[in-house]
């Protein structure tokens, strides 16, 4: 059993909150740079602004976006880890509270969805824990803005709908809502599982790097096909037309019931901020 102090986790999370909100991941930047050369006019100008913004934010260690997001954490907790003086949930929340306050990040969480009083700490975070073999903790942070989150959607299809039904649903969501979600997007698609798990599956898909390819050849093909069809919609950067509506599409699947075909689309804006640490 490896002992890890709660304080160690808190300090790492505090720092992670800042870095993730200040630095756009390299793979996203690379995809943006590849898209700039394909565009002209307003679309090109917008992509250039996005890249310039990333340079400023990194250089000055300043937030990329004013919406510093809901704090989502995806944790792989080794079963041979013992957390001293606390637990993983309290440690992450404490780190978020410290990180958001000390780095002047925006606190965007309200206690009650209808009463809407701000918690002033950006907590509670959404913390998803998987217990895995080993004595390490892998934590990926995904601060996610409200505009793109509001464009996400879930539908319970039936088996006879098949791939055609999935594709129709995904393209429909993008067409209806994506202008408001700060395109170019990263699109996470979850297929299978059940009502509760398919949304998480779609959101976890957003953690993949834009250069990554689905391990399953069928779905790897479908990811490319969906990306091509999304980019044919001519929605473009910030919804003002262009070839770059999405930078990447990631599909994740899991087993499901004989009666069901759940599909979820998790929409991520171009400010696709994510960072992983291993403790």
């Amino acid at each position: 059993m490896r002992k890890i102090k709660s304080e160690t986790i808190i300090n790492i999370i505090e720092n992670l909150c800042a870095k993730t909100n200040f630095e756009l991941p390299e793979d996203i930047l690379k995809s943006l740079r590849q898209s700039v050369v394909l565009e002209t006019g307003i679309a090109k100008d917008i992509l250039e602004e996005i890249i310039e913004n990333a340079d400023i934010a990194k250089g000055e260690q300043f937030p990329l976006c004013q919406d510093t997001g809901t704090a989502n954490f995806f944790v792989k907790l080794g079963q041979d880890v013992y957390i001293e003086d606390g637990n993983i949930y309290d440690a992450i929340n404490e780190g978020v509270s410290l990180g958001y306050v000390s780095n002047y990040l925006r606190k965007s969480i309200v206690f009650d969805p209808l009463e809407r009083k701000n918690t002033q700490s950006n907590t509670p975070a959404n913390i998803y824990v998987d217990i895995v073999p080993g004595d390490k903790i892998e934590i990926t942070f995904l601060p996610k803005g409200g505009g793109s989150e509001n464009a996400s959607a879930l539908k319970m299809l039936v088996p006879s709908d098949g791939w055609k039904g999935v594709e129709e649903f995904v393209l429909g969501v993008i067409n209806d809502k994506c202008v408001d979600a700060c395109p170019p997007l990263v699109v996470g698609v979850g297929i299978g599982g059940d009502f509760a798990s398919v949304g998480l599956l779609a959101k976890k898909a957003l953690l993949r790097e834009t250069v990554s390819k689905n391990k399953n050849d069928f779905y790897a093909g479908k990811e490319q096909e969906l990306l091509t069809n999304i980019n044919k919609l001519n929605i473009g950067p910030m919804g003002m037309g262009g070839k770059t509506t999405a930078l990447a599409v990631f599909i994740e699947t899991k087993p499901t019931h004989i009666a069901s075909l759940p599909v979820a689309v998790s929409i991520q804006c171009h400010s696709c901020r994510r960072k992983m640490v291993i403790i």
Partner: protein, 174 residues
Amino acid sequence: MKINLQDLVLNIKALKAGQKILFSGTIYTARDAAHKRIIDMLDCGKELPFDLKNAAIYYCGPTPVRPGAVIGACGPTTSSRMDIFTARILKGGVKILIGKGNRSDEVVDLIKLNNSAYLVATGGVAALISKTVQKAELIAFEDLGPEAIYKLEVKDMPLIVAIDSLGNNILKHS
């Protein structure tokens, strides 16, 4: 094209959807909660924190300001959430709406009717936009935190005319 608020209001008919401008002048931040309060105050006949006549509203909730800085990160938020309030805001005399994303057909008609314009800033480029803010003053609703109303003086803020006073709209519709 560089333009300030006064000239923009005077020559609003000259603005064309799709045009890029570098905007200077006073703008007031207001997003969901601040809009709700403004409407409630109008309903009760109370004096508003700023004069709506010929004003520019920016849908924005900045990050907290660091010591010594003018403002925090301050990009636009999604405008469509404010559609429901926009009839009253424009009736009050606001001429310029600044945000990101689409507006309802009703808002497009209202913009035409009120001889106003909807401008968009690029979402998610909040560090870049913060450079254009020269002065920021919290003027109302401090208890709302990021949703408080700030009076901003901006210089050469990069904007695009999305919906012009004739109702032309360059944003893609579903």
